[in-house]
């Protein structure tokens, strides 16, 4: 096995394990920390695919900003004292079964697809993921969506402040 394969399987196992721990842990703070581990594993996958810009943005935006926001909200609510009410066992079983059916249907679909049998995702090569190429396309072809994004952020900021205000 080459180094790339070893890294791929290690990062995949880490991502799946920590994603499962997000669901299993009872304490919401532990869930947030396991989700941060998942995001770091996914960033490792991005680096393996040589998408360096997205790897850094994923760590900064998701693991850095969004998860800290989640942590702040959980700590403001002081959820540790109250025990979370559980769904009854049948509802949990129904949820797991429907999720498993979803997985099964799509796995069998992918197994039968002949077109992707021989396709390979290029790892550790190719420089389209570097910030030089992405920035050039972002500020030439996608400059209008980029500017609209700033309006979206402004409206989200105003909305969050208006809703979070005590009245």
């Amino acid at each position: 096995m080459s180094t790339t394969e070893i890294l791929f399987f290690f990062l995949s196992a880490l991502a799946l394990f920590s994603a499962s721990m997000v669901l299993i842990s009872k304490n919401p703070v532990h869930s947030v920390l396991w989700l941060v581990v998942t995001f770091f594993a996914i960033s490792g996958h991005y680096i393996l695919l040589n998408a360096q810009f997205l790897a850094i943005v994923n760590i900064i935006v998701y693991a850095g900003a969004i998860m800290v926001l989640f942590l702040f909200v959980i700590m403001l609510m002081n959820l540790n004292q109250q025990n979370e009410p559980q769904k009854n066992l049948w509802m949990k079983l129904a949820g797991v079964i429907s999720g498993g059916c979803f997985l099964m249907v799509f796995v069998s679909l992918v197994r039968q697809a002949l077109e992707i049998k021989t396709k390979v995702a290029m790892t550790t090569g190719g420089d389209i993921g570097l910030i030089k190429n992405l920035g050039r396309v972002l500020f030439s072809d996608y400059v209008v969506p980029f500017e609209i994004t700033s309006v979206l952020f402004l409206s989200a900021m105003v909305g969050a402040i208006v809703m979070g205000k005590k009245d």
Binding site: E5, V22, T38, A51, V73, M77, G129, N133
Partner: protein, 111 residues
Amino acid sequence: MPIQYYIYLCLALFSIGVIGALTRRNVIIVFMCIELMFNAVNLLLVAFSKMHYGIASISDKASTVGTDGQLFVFFIMVVAAAEVSVGLAIIVMLFRNTHSVDINFLNRLKN
């Protein structure tokens, strides 16, 4: 790596997110599971973009095929950040009114 491995990994991550959104009752955990599903889709988009680039770069070394996919991931992250800020504000407001984060109490929007 074969593209199938990435598809299986992303399907597993997405299914874990679906199961979490269906089985947990804490609204913050449900929200985090939605973020997990976002990330599974992002990873698959990047893998497919590198797949198309790998095919195109055989004939043309300087091709920029696949840049669109990675920029799409960037925009998904931007929208997710805006969505999280508004969603958490809604959750905080609901918690202030009902003193609960149980989705079974939050299913009626009136009162």
